[in-house]
Symmetry: C2
Subunit: 416 residues, 2 copies
């Protein structure tokens, strides 16, 4: 049953991907703007479907945070529609040719950007992911197979119905967006091992879900794991800048992957700690620290080794005073999840060294870690932030959902 369903979905996805690869930009944009129109005109249907999910959530005593993620209202549906229109307005990456050069043999060699093919997206309660992920895949020329949370099945069905209707009206194959329309958990296993049909899996959810999928998948996975991000304040940092960046990186939002979790401070810059700690405590942040940090403020709790390795995603911060930039880099190498790190320094050589030496997806100099984001980087939209090393690192936008092929333009050249 499961494998028959997967084979059907996979076949349809693969066939539709072959046609979508060639679709012109206008048709893809038209599908996206028509889908936005459907979200607005079918608002009542979407909200009625969501009400069913919310009722089931009540009956199953879902926790409040999950229910908040699941809930749709007119504002959230309108935001989904606007998201689609924003993606329609982005440049189409598919077919772009770059680096075309003449070689001594006479041939011209270059790259053409092309879709990945079929993308499987596995996600949890937020129904807006159905719209966002499908739109990013469509614009980048990829067919997608969506597997949302079972608690959102009615909402996801209603959203997918709008998307498929719009795609069809735009003259494209509606199977470029397919929703796995069952809550059978075995379908996740089938999807992540369907290497005949699926080119890449993008899981969106907590680290435990993502780790399990990566371990069991037979298809490449673009992973987003923890964000244990660091700010390092160097000896010669501008003090006001250091205070501002540290506070922004921690307190702008707590539950996000690009928030700072550990602050490292050069021993000659401890003079900025009293102000930082005071402001953190005023904002209700729990501060944990090494002995030297505790000497600054008696409200600082002792940090353990576990603290350095923890992504709090909460109003908690660990602080460590280090001897020099080298010890800061070693600490980052040991404990960082390689998501985002920043140095605050006005010294050119130290900043350059940090920039080259630290091997994280985003390395910053005199800026808040909170900038690690697809919109801030100019991608227009993002499907996630990759903590992988291969293929795509950091915020993943339309380009991250494509690959390149080599193109060769000749005039009858042969090898001699």
């Amino acid at each position: 049953m499961t494998s028959a369903m997967m084979n059907l979905l996979g076949k349809q996805a693969k066939e539709s991907a072959a046609s979508l690869r060639m679709a012109d930009t206008n048709k893809k944009n038209k599908a996206l703007t028509l889908a936005a129109a459907h979200f607005r005109s079918d608002m009542a249907d979407i909200l009625a479907a969501n009400a069913k999910d919310m009722q089931a959530a009540d009956e199953n005593n879902l926790e409040a945070a999950l229910k908040d993620r699941l809930a749709l209202d007119e504002g959230r549906v309108e935001a989904m529609a606007e998201g689609l229109e924003q993606i329609a307005a982005l440049p189409d990456p598919v077919g772009a040719i770059s680096d075309l050069v003449y070689r001594p043999s006479g041939i011209q060699v270059g790259h053409m950007r092309v879709p990945l093919g079929v993308i499987g997206i596995i996600y949890e309660s937020r129904p807006n992911v159905t719209a966002d992920a499908a739109a990013l895949c469509l614009k980048s020329g990829n067919a997608c197979i969506l597997r949302g949370g079972s608690e959102a099945i009615h909402s996801n069905r209603a959203i997918a119905k709008c998307l498929r209707a719009a795609i069809s009206e735009a003259g494209l194959d509606e199977n470029v967006v397919q929703l796995i329309d069952t809550t059978d958990r075995a379908m996740v296993g089938a999807l992540i091992t369907a290497s005949d049909y699926v080119d890449v899996i993008i899981p969106r959810g907590g680290p435990s879900l993502i780790k399990r999928i990566a371990a069991e998948a037979k298809v490449p996975v673009i992973k987003h794991l923890d964000g244990i991000c660091h700010v390092y304040i160097d000896a010669v940092a501008d003090r006001e800048m250091a205070v501002n960046i540290a506070l922004n990186a921690k307190t702008h939002r707590y539950g996000v992957c690009n928030a700072m979790e550990t602050l490292l401070v050069h021993q000659d810059a401890v003079d900025c700690l009293p102000e930082i700690i005071k402001q953190l405590l005023d904002k209700g942040v729990e501060v944990r620290g090494c002995a030297k940090t505790q000497a600054v403020n008696e409200q600082v709790i002792t940090a353990t080794d576990e603290d350095w390795a923890t992504e709090y995603l909460a109003p908690v911060l660990s602080i460590r005073v280090v001897d020099d930039v080298q010890q800061a880099i070693t600490h980052i190498e040991t404990y960082s999840s390689a998501h985002t790190e920043t140095i605050v320094t006005s010294d050119y050589a130290t900043g350059q060294m940090f920039l080259r030496c630290v091997d994280s997806a985003s390395v910053m100099w005199n800026a808040s870690t909170r900038f690690a984001d697809g919109f801030e980087y100019g991608l227009g939209a993002e499907i996630g932030i990759s903590t992988d090393r291969l293929h795509v690192r950091g915020p993943v936008g339309l380009e991250g959902l494509t690959t390149q092929k080599w193109i060769v333009l000749g005039h009858g050249e042969i090898r001699s």
Copy 2:
């Protein structure tokens, strides 16, 4: 035992990779040119080690083709040395910054090219791979763990000794190149599952070895599978060009992955088939074909479905007459291994369509498939040809052995 050895090798590789990431270009080039000098000065030791492997090969009745691959002489060792010098002369991809732009927030965002980290290379009898692979990894800033064929263990040891001595003399950590110095097969399993230490595995060998490694690996694999390459001669192709390209693609070398295995001919271009088939038969190529091809020359054997799906790597060619370019593309979609395909046409629209529509690592227009090669494309050297879709496609040179991180240069910017 196996896991203790893997942990030691892995730890050493990871530590050395962290230092190599920062190594300046001069030191890496010095290590490569010193290694070339060692190959020349230690020629006698290398040949003596190789003689031991050749003696064992005789005793084990290794087949002649394998023995030819295993054998070293002064010319082959000199070629290895020159290969290292060529890699030393290539530009260093590591640390290159691109696409640095100002964003509305005031930050500058761009990419910096960085090494992948630790690369595991698994290969068969050719001892020169030890030198080539290590040199490409070193230049691209990656530590490598090499696992050569057990039949070449003495040769590989002697070559690795030269490499490590040179690396040390250049002031780098010799552990950036480590050879698995045992013929215990369990070490392959340990290497491809050592996800704590190894960032990517590159297997070099036959499709069955590569498929097995890809199936069992817990680390990303850059794969090189079959090359079932096609030439399509369009209705309006220049006939002389078509004949030249078809013959070059098939007969320039038979045992290579970028040789043509199937020729597709538009029904209005069958007039060029008599000449092509005659010349192929004159060169001793066995020609198999569809009924329409057989009608051209009675020596053409009937091609079966299996022929369309076969990488001959031999003087055998299958030919099919197709109705139009669309049928050619469908044939390619069905049977190609997505390595390299070429169209011969003087029609602009048909050529453009083929270029966009065919989804292979290399797509060519009026050029022989034999150009699909790192040197011909200007990479300077190649570690293999990827038939994967993600990360790197087609010929893999120094850049394919690197990834990118985002860099952000600020002036104290914070998110608001």
